[in-house]
Structures are given as structure tokens and as C-alpha cells.
Subunit: 554 residues, 2 copies
């Protein structure tokens, strides 16, 4: 039998590469004949895993090496890190599963934890820590899922849905060209929904009504998808780099890793509530250029993540002007624009800054502004709705981005609908208007209170320092770690604050993200925690108690 030609005398699972290579040199015809023989060997094999002699021989001729292994993967993809769902979060998931098994009586580990659930403060995921969805948009979303006769036209619809939700769903179904949310939309998103975004931005920024062209708006699966798209367009090759704050939201560093671009860090100033320092921006750019890096973009996160600060209009104007002067594309992450808590503070968009300085009219700025339904007061993370508005981006570049979006067909239509509803809520006078505003207000006030509780509470712990969280959803305290921790973590091969966070998790069930995952000055240690959990007060006390024990342990 010709299987002997195939080196099937060898029964080692890991064949040598030379025998594989021998295979490769066979002619096409020979391969085809062999396949027929092999297939014949299996023809009588109706059951599973029941192999006769012939097929065993065939199987033994097949290389057991694997093509796709950890070693076959690009360095860029391997290098890429994403701390928010990293080591600590994975351990937290493992413990959750273990607690679940213990409750069901199917655990065999025998491990006992001094808590009965994990408090996930590692990620800005409001609904997962008890925040309720705002009602009205959800009623419209439900009606969008229902066929007309069973939804907007159902005789009993008004018993379950308010009139203004029914009417809005009706007009959105028209905007969906009558196809409903089961059809692919325009690859940039439904035109009418993009119009809702345009009018929202114009109102927010006091811009001329109708001045924003919907062709410059792309609806995307959360802001993340838009960010990756723009970075893909910006990073031409490995000489390119993008300025990102330190600390930063790790999607930026992860995407730069993946695309093979340089991370050009600029430090935020912790002492001035994570403020911007224009000298530091100039330093960062000059240093990068001295190294031959082609700095193509700058990421600004305002309100800050993980740092929670809110920039003044002057600070925003400074950054915008910096980008204009240096001809750098400004990637403006404004997903926390509704999350501004301190009296007197107000969100001021990069777009508005550029507009007021005449840079838009003069076509002297390139700006991409990102927003999302995941944050604010809706917190609709799971719906994956977001947008990017492009300012000063040439039409031919826009077309490249459109092509990229088209290759993925479109972002999910329900997420697009949620963006529309966030940008365009019920109107004053509508039956749901008052309750809608009240619900949003209640969520906002809750966030505002917990921001204070958490940041003041953490700041009051001896050894901790925490800037006031005036925006976003996070506190980013620094934590003094005993020398023993630094030594011990070295041996374990991870950062000192990872060791701290792991100990905190295993002792208290509180899941935070080590600050090292976001970047920080050398020698600083700390973590990021959200202040979303209604347990925030308890969380602070547990962190306080644990820290004392932790320090005494080392």
C-alpha cells in the first residue's frame, strides 16, 4: 500500500519536519490520488473515533505539529496588553465560578473565601453593578425588535408602551427604510441616526444648525471600533507613533501594539488633579521626533480615564492649538462628556475649541471625536453603540474609512438606534419627558455622590493619595507599597501593584486594575477603581482594612 511512501512506518506523534517536507514535494496528482485512498479508508467508518487498521495507518501519516501556535503568532499581537480584562479580572472570574460551584455543592477545591461575591470595580460597566437602564430608550428599542403588527400597530400596545415611545419607534422604523433592524444598514450607519448625532453635536457646541455634514459621522460598535479604525488609518508603518497620556485607557496602547506603531507617552500631572502640562506635550513630541518617530496623532481623553479629571476650555484650546501647530491628528476621546460632577465645571469639546479658534473654518485642524452609549448616564455598554465625528478629514480619506467599515458591512443596528436615542431623547411636553429627565438625573446624582465618597474615602487612607474624581467613572489613587512587596513582586514576575491588587482580590473580593496597566511614573504604584458600585462606601472601608493588614504582612 502506498501509505508506506508517506512515512507511516513512524508512529511518533511529532513527525520530523523533513518527512513533512517530503510530503510537500509530491506532485498535485499524486496528492489527489492519495486523498481517494484515504477517503476509501474512512468510507466504512460510520461511527466516531472507531478506526480500523487502514485508517489508523492513514492517521499515523498525518503531521501532529500545529500550524497555528503561540510561536506562529505575530510579535505585535503577542505583545499587545489589555489590562482592564487582564490578570486580575481573569482571577476574579475564576473565583466567581468557584463561588458558584460552591453554592451548587459541586466544588471540590475546598478553598474558602472570606466573601460571597466579587465586587467588579475593574471596568466601567454600570449595569453589572446595579445601575438600571433608563426606561424610555429601552421601550423604543423593544418596539424596534417587534414586527409592526405585534408592536407599534398592536391593539394593546398602549397598555405596555407610552405613546411617545410608540411614535418614536414608528419614525425610526421609517428611518430604517421600512426594513427594520434585521437589515444591514448603510456602512456608516443609518442616515437619520447620523443626523440625530449631528444635531446633538451642534446643540452641545453651540454650532450653527445644519453645519455638520452627516458624511463625516460614522456609527460604530461602541467608541472602541471607531478608535481602532482611525488608528488603522493613521499608522502607515512602524515609523509612526501616536501621543497618548500616561496614564491612559489601555485600548490605545493595545491598538498601537497591534498595529506596530510607537507609543509616545505624555505625562499628566497628578499633583494638579491630573492636569495637562503644555511643556510636557512639547517635550514628548520633541523627544519622539528626535528618535525619528513620525508622530501622526495625539490622544486626548477628557474627562479622563483612568484619571477622572475634567479639562477647562482653555486647556482644551491649548491641546487643539498644539495639534494644529504641529499638524497632528487629534483623537479626542469624549465618551465621558456627560460625567462631569463638580459645580462650575463643564464639558468643553475639542470640536468647539477648534471652531471658536477659527480652525475648522480655516481647515487647519484634523480632529476625530469619539462618543459612546456605554458611559454617561445610560451606561448601555452591552448595546455597543458609538460614533466618531471627523473634522478636517479629506474626502478621499473618508472614503478609505468607509471602505474599511463596509468590509465589516455595518455596526449593529440596535446599537445605532441606541446612539440615536441618546442624542435625541423625548421632547419637552412628551408624556415620558419628565420621568426620563428624572431618571437620568437620579443616575447622575448617584454617580456624583459616589465619586465624592470614593475619592475622599481613598484619599483619607494613610499611605494613599487620591485626586478628586471630578469626572468620568474612576478613581486612580496612588498607594505606597512596602519595600517587601516590591521585592516579592519581582520574584513573581509581575508589577508591585499587581501583587497588591491580587492580594486585595483574594482577601476582600474587590476587583481593581493595577495602575501599571494604564502607565504611571516609575516608582508610583496604585490602581484604578470605578465608583459605580452602590457598595462604594463598604469598598473603601474594606480597602482601608486590607491595606493595613497587607502592609503588616510585608
Amino acid at each position: 500500500m502506498s501509505h508506506q511512501n508517506l512515512g507511516s512506518g513512524s508512529h511518533h506523534h511529532h513527525q520530523t519536519s523533513s518527512s513533512t517536507r517530503c510530503w510537500r514535494n509530491n506532485t498535485a496528482l499524486f496528492g489527489a490520488i492519495m486523498l481517494s485512498i484515504m477517503r476509501a479508508a474512512f468510507a466504512s467508518n460510520a461511527g466516531h473515533h472507531v478506526l480500523g487498521d487502514a485508517s489508523t495507518n492513514v492517521l499515523s501519516s498525518i503531521p501532529r505539529r500545529k500550524r497555528l501556535t503561540i510561536d506562529s503568532i505575530s510579535e505585535n499581537l503577542k505583545t499587545m496588553e489589555y489590562a482592564v480584562r487582564g490578570k486580575i479580572a481573569i482571577e476574579a472570574d475564576r473565583i466567581t465560578q468557584e463561588l458558584h460551584n460552591q453554592r451548587k455543592g459541586i466544588s471540590t477545591s475546598g478553598v474558602k473565601f472570606p466573601f460571597d461575591h466579587i465586587v467588579y470595580t475593574n471596568i466601567g460597566n454600570p449595569h453589572a453593578v446595579g445601575q438600571k437602564a433608563i426606561t424610555w430608550p429601552r421601550q423604543v428599542m423593544a418596539l424596534l425588535q417587534l414586527p409592526d403588527a405585534l408592536g407599534i400597530d398592536h391593539p394593546n400596545a398602549s397598555q405596555m408602551f407610552p405613546e411617545d415611545a410608540i411614535e418614536r419607534a414608528r419614525s425610526m422604523k421609517q428611518a430604517l427604510e421600512g426594513y427594520g433592524i434585521g437589515a444591514y444598514t448603510h456602512s456608516k450607519g443609518v442616515r437619520q441616526f447620523r443626523m440625530d448625532v449631528a444635531r446633538f453635536i451642534e446643540r452641545r457646541d453651540g454650532a450653527e444648525p445644519g453645519s455638520i455634514d452627516i458624511e463625516n459621522i460614522f456609527l460604530t460598535a461602541g467608541a472602541s471600533e471607531a478608535i481602532v479604525m482611525l488608528m488603522t488609518a493613521l499608522i502607515k508603518d512602524s515609523s509612526c507613533g501616536i501621543m497618548t497620556p500616561i496614564p491612559q485607557y489601555p485600548l490605545y496602547s493595545a491598538t498601537l501594539d497591534l498595529l506596530g506603531g510607537h507609543k509616545v507617552g505624555y505625562y499628566l500631572n497628578e499633583e494638579s488633579n491630573w492636569g495637562l502640562n503644555m511643556e510636557e506635550l512639547e517635550r514628548s513630541l520633541a523627544d519622539a521626533e528626535a528618535k525619528g518617530i513620525n508622530v501622526v496623532g495625539l490622544v486626548l481623553i477628557n474627562p479622563g480615564n483612568p484619571t477622572g479629571q475634567v479639562l477647562s476650555s482653555d486647556e482644551v484650546k491649548d491641546v487643539v492649538m498644539f495639534c494644529a501647530r504641529h499638524n497632528i491628528v487629534l483623537l479626542s476621546d469624549e465618551v465621558y462628556q456627560e460625567n462631569v460632577y463638580r459645580e462650575g465645571d463643564a464639558f468643553f469639546s475639542c470640536r468647539r475649541a477648534a471652531d471658536e479658534m477659527g480652525l475648522i473654518k480655516e481647515d487647519a485642524i484634523q480632529l476625530c471625536s469619539f462618543h459612546s452609549v456605554s458611559k454617561g448616564v445610560h451606561g448601555e455598554c452591552g448595546q455597543r453603540g458609538g460614533y466618531v465625528e471627523l473634522v478636517g478629514i479629506d474626502e478621499d480619506v473618508n472614503e478609505i474609512l468607509y471602505k474599511l467599515a463596509a468590509s465589516k458591512l455595518c455596526s449593529n443596528a440596535p446599537g445605532q438606534a441606541m446612539v440615536s436615542l441618546m442624542c435625541n431623547g423625548p421632547n419637552p411636553g412628551d408624556v415620558s419627558y419628565e420621568s426620563h429627565v428624572a431618571e437620568k438625573r437620579a443616575v447622575f446624582e448617584g454617580l456624583k455622590e459616589r465619586a465624592m465618597v470614593m475619592s475622599k474615602g481613598l484619599d483619607s487612607i494613610p499611605g494613599f493619595s487620591c485626586q478628586p474624581a471630578t469626572g468620568a467613572m474612576y478613581c486612580f489613587p496612588s498607594v505606597q507599597l512596602p519595600h517587601g512587596v516590591v521585592e516579592a513582586s519581582k520574584e513573581l514576575g509581575f508589577s508591585p501593584d499587581t501583587l497588591y491588587a491580587l492580594d486585595l482580590l483574594q482577601s476582600t473580593g474587590i476587583c481593581v486594575v493595577p495602575a501599571s496597566g494604564f502607565g504611571q511614573k516609575a516608582g508610583r504604584y496604585g490602581f484604578r477603581t470605578t465608583f459605580l458600585s452602590p457598595e462604594s462606601r463598604t469598598v473603601v472601608e474594606k480597602i482601608r482594612d486590607h491595606y493595613e493588614q497587607f502592609c503588616s504582612k510585608y
Copy 2:
């Protein structure tokens, strides 16, 4: 005033690069000082676009070149093509808009079209051509959007929703850990939903219940996202290539372009209903390897897109064995697995082939199988739900993919829910069971009939040849084009079948995709059309009449 240092004497909008370079050499401190001065210039400028002398001078110092231009974009991204939403589709959109404007009386073009709407047969988007959503999954989806008190627990819920939809929504809400669809899910997707997928695959393939590990299933935004993820992991560098059928679905070529990998084509055999030819697979691989290409994967699309063929179990086994022998990762696009129309044909998965040949047990195959809610009889394209099942992929590679998924947080939760509902419909005996099955059957029978109407109709046109569409949603006829067309298209700079498709669109309103967008043998011309439209009969007649006129024109 120090703005004179900035070359503001020049009022040209396009500054020379030397003046820009001069900027770059300024020290960080100087830059910071300048920013203060610039900001001061704008401080009194409350309105928009109203610039005083000082600010005009500042603006004139800003470079008007742009950082992000068509020239600054990577060749890979520029090269990337995606025909399904390419030239013809864009022209169709333009005409749709023009027709809309004409109806509203706001068109000034004066162009008259001999049709009143575009028939979009360019894309497998069933709901956009009149297919209705299957009711029951939509009822569950609606309830998932509603807060409990307004949905599953609402006193009037049973007047609008069947009991089994309410109960399913209740259990899915539990599977969402009580957070609802507004929370980020596990980055691989909700565990229970992945379990639904696993049980679905086991039933479909006659595999042992419980044999599929949900850790090997990722829920994604349609199959597209999963395909891009896997290709990202496979293409380590520009030496890598992936075998793709010719013709193929252009997402594969587009993604290979973007990642900088080689497209290693293998021809399908049109004469045998686009059948596979194992000699051709061997030829393709040998040729690529002779060129030094590291062939890491092979894409199999079954049922075929754009070609509509259904492979026999023997053919599937041949391809699986080919990949096993050559240690190539098999990317198995099985999104049309429900769309098999011919008596006697049946979908046979690559997974099942591998299982029956003992390759899974022996860990001798690497296989990634993709599925989607967009096709089949649901046609829920806009929901963007899909999955990939990994077979024989190492745990450390799985973790890299998990990290990649985590960087985008999660796919949209409603889309995940739709995957669960597709894999796990109402149970026999449930109140909706009979009507659900009947609705699915009706959609299927409609597709089956139109597949016949369209493929036979096109094949009967003199000059056309069309293989029977036994699966999927497409016909892919070849069309003889007069020599004059080939000449004319050369001058216009696009393919002859693009010229044909453009003429067809402008003459009849029928939007097809030129076959050149999918790949075909040199000298062959044709197009892809879906057979989704209820107007399929008329479409065939219009194509027939147009072809006659078109040929006589050239």
C-alpha cells in the same frame, strides 16, 4: 510681538515644509509660551469665525498641510478592495438618493431614470428586499430590552407576548446574570449562549452531547468579526498566505490585503457546478510554496459564496484531510449551512468530517468554523450576531484570541442573544413551536423557489451560463461580453463586467456585483446576484432584455 517669529508674515494657506520644520525645532518651553500668547489672542473671541487681527496672525502661522491624507495611509489599507459595497453599490446609492430627491421635488439634475427604485441584489440582505423577521426570536429580543417590570413581569405582558417568549426571556435574563443586555458580557460572549451554540453543533453533527467545550466558542459581531480575528492571528508577517477559493467572498481578500498576507487562490470548477478539484488544491499549494509563501490557512466556503454550490460529505472530507496532511488551518465559512435547497443534498460540516475521520480525537486538525444569524432563514443581518468554534487550537492561542476580543470588550449583547435564539428555538409542545417552524419553512420554500427561478432563468439567456444554485443565496452566471465592451472598459479603467453592471444598473435599476470583484478565470465575465428579491422573475426578464440591447450597443 513674537508671532513674527512664527513666519506669520506669510499669508499663504499652504506653507512650505521648511517653515513647518522650523516650528518643530522650537524648544518645548518656547512652544508652551507661544500657546499662552495664542490663547490670549482668542480669549476675547466669544463668537464663531469672528477673528480679530491678532488671531488672524496666529492662524496664518498654522500649517495648512494635513497629516492624514490619502498618501499617508498604508498601502495595505489603500489596496484593500471590497466589491460587495464597491463602485456599483455606491452608484446605486447615489441613484436612490436622486430618486428620493425627485419624488420630493428637490432634484435639480433633470436626469430621468426608466425605473422608480433600485433592486438591490448586490448583497445578501434579506430583510432589505422584503423578507420578514421570524416572529418568536424578535418577541424574546423585545422582552430582553424591556426592564422586568415593564416586560416579563408586566401584568399585560401576556396580551402582547406568548408565554414561551416570556419564559425564554426570563431564563436568558438569568443567563445575563441579572444585568440585562446593557452590561458588557464576558468577552467571548455570555456563557449560557455559548452553551446553546455548543449543543446546537453537537445535535447538528451527531457529536456526543457535552463534548464541545464552550471555551472554544467565541460570539462575535457577525461571522465577519470572527474571520478577521482568526486571520489576524494567522498572518504573522508578509511571508504568510491563505488559500482562498476563486471566486471567493471578498472579505477574505480584503482582510488579507489589510494584514499584508498573500492571497493564494485555488480555482473552483465552474463546469462541475463550482466543484472542488483536489488536484487544483495541490497545485495551488505547491505553486505558493515554490514562491516561498508560508501557507498557513485555507478558506472553504460551503455552501458557496458567490457560487451557491453545496459540497458532498466526501468533498468536505477531502478538504479536511488536505488541511490535516499539510498542517494548514482550515477556516470553514459555513454561514449558509441552513440554505441547502436540492433534494438529496445535505449540509455536512468540516467539524463532522474531522470527527468522523478521527482527526479531532487525534488532535490532528486545526479548524475554525464560522456561523452567523445573518443568513439561513433568519436573515438577521442588522443584529450582527455570529460565532466561531475553534477545534484543535492550543489554549495559549485561544488566550491570545480572548485578549484580542477583550480589547474590544465584547460583541453586542442583543446579537449574542440572537445567536442563542437561532441555535435554540422554541421546543416542541411550546405554544409558539408550530408557528415558528411554519414561518421558517415558508422563508425556506421561498428561497428554494427563487433559487430555481433565478438560476434557470439566467441560464436560459443566450450568452449567459448559470450553474444551478443549490445552496446559499446567490447565482454567479458567466456572461459573454462583446469585444467592444472589453475595449471600452479598458479605456474607462475598469473591468468589462463592471462596465456591464453599471449599464445594467443605469438602465434597469438592478444592482448586481461584477464577478471580477470575487475573482474568476481570465477572460470570464459575469456577476453575482442574490435570489432574495420577490421580484426575481422580473429581474431575470429585465436582465434578458437589457443584455440584448447592451450587446447591440457595442
